[in-house]
Structure formats: structure tokens, C-alpha cells
Amino acid sequence: MDGLKRVIRTPLGVAALTMLVVVLGLAILAPWLLGAKAATIDTNNLLALPSSAHWVGTDSLGRDLLARTLVATRLSVVLALSATLVSVTLGLILGSAPALLGHRLGRLVTAIVNILVAFPGLLLCLFFAVIFGVGQVGAVFAIGLAGAPTFARLCHTLVAGVEERDYVAAARIAGGSRASVLVRHILPNIAEPMVVQATIGAGSCLLTFSGLSFLGLGVQQPAFDWGRLMNEGLNRIYLNPLAALAPGLFVIMAGLAFNLTGEAIARIFNVETSGSWLASGVVPSQPGVTASAHGIARSDKTVLSVNNLTVDFPGVTPVRGLSFDLHQGEALGIVGESGAGKTLTGLAIAQLIEPPGVVGGDVVFLGETLRSDGGEEQRKLLGTSMALVFQDPLSSFNPVRRVGEQLAEVSRVHQGMTRKVAWKRAVDRLRAVRISDPERRAEQHPHEFSGGMRQRAMIGMGLMASPTLLIADEPTTALDVTVQKQVLDLLDSIRTSEQVALILISHDLTLVGERCERIIVMYAGRVVEDLSADALPVAQHPYTRLLMEAVPTLATDLDQPLAVIPGAQPEPSIEITGCAFAPRCPLADDICRTSSPTLAPVASASGRTRNKRGLDITVQTTRMLLRLNLGGKSTPVHTGRVACWHANEPLPETSQLDDTSPSLPASTESTHDVDETVVTP
């Protein structure tokens, strides 16, 4: 009943549920309490107008109309629910039939359902009402059957969605029959939206039923529902308008009660399915912003200076105190696991964090301090000198507009170019990102481009003028290795030929190490190490070193198990005392758990701890050197910063870090907060 609690927490939910409780309460209680009164014939009071004795007046037999309206709740609701039940049952059968019957028969059923959906519901309803004859039962089936196609369509869509999930495939491989897969895996997973739809459906059934009764096709005398009462009251609407309006008001209230309850539940499910604020709250407002030549002519070579950057969301701080400088033409890599705060860092620099997010600290771009409420001038500076490239190039382009147009628009808006000049520039930029036959390609729509080509076009959009800074957030994650290489080569060549500074955000340490000069390693929103790419083999933070060991390369020792970082990155909402990495770190001790290390310059290259376990370092370093094909060169020097109490201390041997011992005492690890397995220190 967790869901119920959350329904109650919203104002809409409270209102809807209150109405629903009133309606259902009336349906249950009214006939007991007022049944007699509603049936009492009073010949002295025929067709009385509203009075203190009869608030809504009386009917042609002198029966109290308010009592009758209240008593009618039960029949109205019961009939509406019965019709809904018919709709839902039929809908479920028709909708899940394709999953049971297999491909060919399934398509036939789907086609029939699709045709039925196209008929107006009321038409179907009247048609069935004629077939089943006038009366309650006939009307229930008429309305139920008329509503079934809609439910069938919904059910079919939902079933088809669940059917594509791998667990359904797994159940089939395991030998489950179609029926058992349907009952065990598919139906439970479509229950929630079906319940919502049924609740809303009940509301519309109630309206339709009242309509039918009002037309005289539904409930017949002596039974009465709201529609029937409205029908009887209509004759005297000029004399006693309340006689028709009172049941009408009840119809509206009951209809709203069902509909709003459905809406309230749906809203809660939607909140869950659409993801957290991280996914929904920070949608960039200007994908692929761009560039001008004016920005570069500054003597100051520092393009970007970030000081103590933080990103706050209510209750969460996903980025904590990031500082770095970036020079013209320099490439900086930001590395970390998903959830480390890399993407938010990129968005924060571009001032694209949207409320309720708050950016703290200073971002100085080309000498201007950027502010989240920056005016027109800042917008222009960002629009012309900073470019962003996102992971998914398809969603960054408008699907219905030509690629060339979309590129040209940037220059038309930000640089005031004419349509013709901007188009020329777009074609030129497409050529610059090595898209063959750019004149023809510019005329095409995004879907006619392959993934790699779209990403290149996206970069081309970023280059419409000449940006000073290019922020690329996982630009190649969605691409194949060979295409990935092309895109990264392109970024390299742009950087060198146009002196563009680059921030490359990626989860892949090897890739970043190869393409960037400097690397910032992020963990749980913090910078744990800041080092030059050359210094990767002598990285000092255990996290950086384990990350390098954990990823197999073509030089990985096949006889050794891969290094494992047990556990998972802490959620940004959790307050951490001490080092954020401590729970997963093989070197962690009491200091690490109580006191947070600051990001400090690495002592000195010669200060490497040649302690009694010094040999380990050498072995490890050699292995890393081999991995990076650096063998033969002089030992790289770490001149960056690191945040660790045990920087550069030797890690336990890889074999000890591995999870090969299957029998762990169950009591030592909690099932939920420790992922994977425990390190044997």
C-alpha cells in the first residue's frame, strides 16, 4: 500500500480519493438508509417544488427526489463497474491473444482490434444496445463491448512492450509455454497501467451509462439510475430545474472521482517511470551551441577557470568542489563511473543546469565570470565561443528539419549571417568534419545519417564559427569502435588545427588517457586525482589505479584475474564522512573513514615510497607501462594533485583483490549496500 500513501500525499490524490470514498460510501449506505423514503409515494405532494421537506422536490408520484438521487448511486456505480469489468476482461483477452496465438493469428486479432478502435464508441454502443435490447443487462454489455477495443489496444501495446524485455526471452529459453510466460511474467508487469486505465474507464462508463439511460435505452422503470432521473426531470426543467440538475451533478462528481483517482495513480507511476531529477531536470536547453572568432583574440591563454564548482539539487550535491584551469588548445579528460557527476560538471560549466539545480563556485570563461542568471551578453558569449556535443546525436537533432538548416541556424542566430551565407558555412563545416558529399548531405534529414555521421555533424554544428572550448560528453559511447576512432581523430585534428580547448567526458580511462593531456578522475562528485595523461602509469589514487587494472586491454596478463573494485559508488544523497572511496578501497583504514582527504599536490616524483613493499610498486608500474606501450621511455612524473591518505601506497596483489573465493560468510556483508563481493584485505 505504498502507492496509496503516495496518492494521498498529492493534493489531486486527496481530492480524488475523498470524492471516490463519498461516492462509494453513498453507493453502499444510501439504499439502506434512504431506500424506504425514496420509494414512499406521497399523493399529497405530487411534483412538489424544492422545499425544506423535499430539498430537490418530488416526482410525479410524490417521491422525494434527493433521496432517489442518493439511492440511485448504487445502481449507477454498479452498472458502470460491471460495464468496465466487461471491457477490461474482453480487452485483456483480445489484447493478450497475440502473445498466446503466435505470429499469424496474433496479427489477425490485432488487425480486428485496430478496426474496432476506429469506430466511435457511442455508435458501437447504440448498435449493441439494439442487438441486446433495451434494459440494464443489454446496456452493460453494449457499453462493455464498446469499450473493449480501447482496452484491447492498450493491453496489446503494453504486452508487446513487456514481451521485448529480455526476461521474457529468458523464460522462453527456459522452456516456459506461451501461457505460463503470459501469466507469470507479462500480466503482472502490465497490471499497473491497466488498473489506472480501468479506473479512468469506469468514469467514462458511468457517463456513457447515464447517457444511455437518459435516452431511455438503459435502466427501465421501476429501477432508476442517475440517467433515468435526469430523463424524468428533463420534462419539467423550466419548473423545477433541480430535479434534472441534481442527478447531473452526481454524475459529474462520480465521473470526476473515478477519472481523477486514475489520473492521480497514473501520475505517480509516471513519476517513477520517467526517472529521477537527474534524468529529467537538467535537459539542456540549447543542444550544440556555438562559436565566433571574436573570443580567441585574447592575450590570456587560459580559456576556462573553474574554482570550487558545486552542483546542488534539493537534498543532493552531485558535484562537490571541482577546480581546474584549461588553456587554449588543451584537452582535459573527465573520467568516472556513471553517477560520478561528470555530465553535471559539463552542464554546469555551460550554465545549463536548470532549477531546482543550483551551481556554486566560480566559472570564468574567457575572462568573464559566468552566472546562472547571466543576461543576453553571456548568452551570446556562450553561444558563440562554447560548443557542446552530447552522447546521443539523434536526440540532439530536430528530426523533421534538414541537417544543413539546423547547422545554418546557429550562425544565423548568433552571428547574424544571411540564410545563403550560413548554408554555405554549414556545408563547409560538414566537409570539415569529413562528411563526404556535404552538399547533398546537408539537404538530408538526421535519420538519413548513420550514428557516426550524426555525431560528426553534431561536432560540425559546434564548429559553425570557431569555438574556443568544446565540451564533449561521452561523444562516442553510442558508437562502434571503428567509428569511435574516427570521431576521436576528428576531435584531435580540430583541436590542433583550430586551437580549440577540449573537455572530453568519458567513463573510459584508457580512451581518455590516449586522447587528452590532462585527466581529472571523479568519484562520487569529488575529484580524487588530477594528473597528466603521461602520469597514468604512476597514478597515485587507489581508485585510478584499480580502474586501470580492472579494464582488460590487449596487453592484460591472461593468467591473472582482473582487478575488482568491490561495492558500488555511494548515492549522491548519502552524506559521507571521510573519504568517499573508503568503503571500496583495499587501503582504507580509520583515518580514511573519519576524515576526508583534500586534493593536494603530489609530494614529488622522487618521493615515491620505497618502503618495505616497494617491490610491489615496481611490479605494478611495469605492468602498467607495458599496458600503455610506454616501455623504454623514461619513467613518467606525476605533477598533478591527489586526494588520498594513502596515495601511492602499494595495493594488495590482484589475486587477493579478486572475488574468486565463492564462499563468503553471509553475515559479513549486507545484501543491499555491498555490491559484488568483499575484498580480502
Partner: protein, 247 residues
């Protein structure tokens, strides 16, 4: 013995030929890596191997015998790429694993069995009572492997099982695959786009492109002396395979 053989398999989706006359042998007790870019047909071939995708031409043999369309439940098992899609959110982990057990068994035995399987993939057996929502990606992937093993398969097909995982987790899954292979002598078709990963787990490998296998042989040999130009291109594209001059 358990040996999986694809014999002249062709799979078409409308006008598109996803797999074109592919023959591939997965010898007993061996891990065969299948690499190629997305769209090369490797996942389609894997799915055809477990009967999830119908073949237009060709057949899949288990120990020389064609796998019947029905009644072969569980002899060839599959682990999927996306750990967030491969477990039923409405089913407890233990029940999901139990469902794959080849024959229904008594409750007490069943629980022992599940505990053993969870232990085998380095998970706390208590996790069996949880719903997948409480599990991390790495844990889910382990459960998926345990479920596949529950069916006591002759052959396991792993389709990009580390691609959706964070790098820090990927290593532990690869270690697990290697350990299971050594301990249980599993026969496995390991599909991946990552050559370094395939190199780490597979003794033999096949390179697929545009629906056909362009190169096949012992992993070490192919990586050292690739013949096909496409294999060479793949090798050159791996990050870390070279360091460009820094500016």
C-alpha cells in the same frame, strides 16, 4: 560432450539479411568469442542459437543433433546485455532462478539449489528473497548468470554481458566467467564488440561483419596475425592499442 554448431545459418528480416550463411563451431568446454560492430549480425546469430530468432536457412546442432524447436528446454541458455531488462521486476530473484530449474523439485531442495547457484556467482544467498529493484547492475548480471546455470545448460551464450556495466564492475563479471569456465568446463559463445574482453575470456574467436564471418581461429593467433582487413581495422581502433604523439 556439449558442442554447439551453427550450420549454414541464414536469418533475414524482410529485405535485410542479418546473418548470411554462417557456419560456426563452438567446441566442447571452450569459450568462443564472437566480435563485430553493432549491426554485424552477432546478436542475431546468438539469438538464433537459442531459438529466439527463427532461421530461414540452416540449423543449429547440439552434439551433432539438431535442437528441436520445442522440448529442448534449457539445453542452450543465454545471458543478455541489459541487466535491467533481463530480470522480471515482479519476481523475487530466487523464484526467477527456480523457474529455470530443469525439473520441478521439492521446496527444501529448491532453496538449497538456489542458494548454491547464488553462491556460485558470488552472491549472498539471502539475496534470493529480494526483488531485482534492490540489486545493482553487477548483481543483476550475476543473477542472470545464475538463472542460466540453473537450467544445467550444455552451452551458454553470453550476449554483450559486460557492455551495460560500469568499468569497475565489468572486471568482476569477466573473472566470474573465467572461473565458471575453468570450474564447470562450460561451453560458451561469448558475444562482444570489445576485442580486449574477448581476448581475456575466449580461446577461439570469430570476427563477424555484415552478416558473415570474415575470420575465425585461435584468439591469440588472430590478434597477432589478423588476415582480414576488417579485423586489422578493429584492432587498430581499440583505445590503448597505441599512444598518439602528444601536442
Amino acid at each position: 560432450m556439449s558442442r554447439l554448431t551453427f550450420e549454414n545459418v541464414t536469418v533475414r528480416f524482410g529485405a535485410l539479411t542479418a546473418v548470411n550463411d554462417v557456419s560456426l563451431d563452438v567446441p566442447d568446454g571452450m569459450v568462443v568469442g564472437l566480435v563485430g560492430e553493432s549491426g554485424s549480425g552477432k546478436t542475431t546469430l546468438a539469438r538464433a542459437g537459442v531459438g529466439l530468432t527463427p532461421m530461414q536457412v540452416g540449423r543449429v546442432l547440439l552434439d551433432g543433433v539438431p535442437i528441436p524447436k520445442r522440448g529442448s528446454a534449457g539445453r542452450v541458455q543465454m545471458v543478455f546485455q541489459d541487466p535491467y531488462s533481463s530480470l522480471d521486476p515482479r519476481m523475487r530473484v530466487g523464484d526467477a532462478i527456480a523457474e529455470a530449474l530443469p525439473t520441478p523439485i521439492a521446496r527444501a531442495d529448491r532453496d538449497d539449489h538456489i542458494a548454491h547457484l547464488l553462491d556460485l556467482v558470488n552472491l549472498n544467498p539471502a539475496i534470493g528473497l529480494d526483488y531485482p529493484a534492490r540489486l545493482s547492475g553487477g548483481q543483476r548480471q550475476r543473477v542472470a548468470i545464475a538463472r542460466a546455470l540453473a537450467a544445467q545448460p550444455a552451452v551458454l551464450i553470453a550476449d554483450e554481458i559486460t557492455s551495460a556495466l560500469d568499468v569497475s564492475i565489468q572486471g568482476s563479471i569477466l573473472n566470474l566467467i573465467r572461473r565458471l569456465q575453468t570450474e564447470l568446463g562450460l561451453t560458451m559463445l561469448f558475444v562482444s564488440h570489445n576485442l580486449a574482453v574477448v581476448r581475456y575470456v575466449a580461446q577461439r574467436m570469430a570476427v563477424m561483419r555484415d552478416g558473415i564471418i570474415v575470420e575465425e581461429g585461435p584468439t591469440a593467433e588472430i590478434l597477432e596475425h589478423p588476415h582480414d582487413p576488417y579485423t586489422k581495422e578493429l584492432l587498430a581502433a581499440i583505445p590503448g592499442s597505441h599512444l598518439p604523439p602528444k601536442t
